[in-house]
Symmetry: C2
Subunit: 174 residues, 2 copies
Amino acid sequence: MLELAILGFLHERPLHGYDLRGRVAALTGHVRPIADGTLYPAIKRMEAKGWLERKTQPGSAAAPRHMLHLRPAGEQELLRRLREPEELDVSDENRWFVLLAFLRHLRDPEAQAGVLRRRLAFLELPSSFFYEDGRPVRAENVDDPFRQGLLTIARATSEAELHWLRTTLTDLGG
Amino acid sequence: MLELAILGFLHERPLHGYDLRGRVAALTGHVRPIADGTLYPAIKRMEAKGWLERKTQPGSAAAPRHMLHLRPAGEQELLRRLREPEELDVSDENRWFVLLAFLRHLRDPEAQAGVLRRRLAFLELPSSFFYEDGRPVRAENVDDPFRQGLLTIARATSEAELHWLRTTLTDLGG
DNA sequence: CCGTGATACCTCGGAGCCGATATATATTGC
DNA sequence: GCAATATATATCGGCTCCGAGGTATCACGG
């Protein structure tokens, strides 16, 4: 998730780590900002894979800045991840949101529509039930008010997204 | 997250690992079911902490079942986690959903209301903006349609939950 | 002059989870 | 009779992430 965000931001312009830190936090919005112990190792990892290049700029600020540039292999990786995402999965909304935030980098509208269609397929999948007091209970028949709330919220989310997906797909000519 | 679910389920009745596996998957609904390599180590961990006790039942099924019983320390841990949750954080919806699914185990309505109030406080926090082409842009002024979609979905979710929280708090007499 | 906070980077240990792999029996369908 | 599927448990390596800690410099207010 973090790697996708880094690739996306660096596709727009070279940045240094501390700047990335703020942008990633802003991107994920309310989400807890990523820790330094997450960010800097990620940068190192991605450098080692040849996706990033570091160009040190002395002076300017308090500490020396290591400007990070996206290398061609990094751009390829970004486009690959946007095209063939493993982040469509409903299990982690944040992953999908980060993907969505950078989907425009996939210039081709048809490719973009393809991603949305695959997300749609995931969302249109079943179906929920609970185990209440040991027996499976259909969502409609759930007794507990807190679980009813859970379902209400989940449904509202899913409906909002389905609606958006369908209208956007129409706009894209999909 | 998994630990909370296990504690919650075992608070209802003793279960064996394979059963838990199915229930956790059903609980989180559409979410990718947890891997065996996640579940069984978690059980071991929780046993070691004294929260769980294993009672082997030979015979019945194909393989011998290890029935898991919640020990008093486990119940205390469950109630503690429900009362003083670290899962209110908006960053991981699943954590919050799992908490909600077991909030009824905290019998006291005032304690339940307290949890909802704290969640409310998190949701009512700011405020989102993006970095678009290098500059911070307020959510209202975001240009990219995919990011607009992201905001639409996030807002719908948050509004649905806020509405539910407020009406439920009224019901609870909070 | 000193403390605080922002800027800027880094490392280490540990937690939690995943995928792959292994093992073995019972049931169901062909 | 045999293959697939369900039941049931477990381990291993690897990955991402977090929290805590460490190192500097610079700007600003008291």
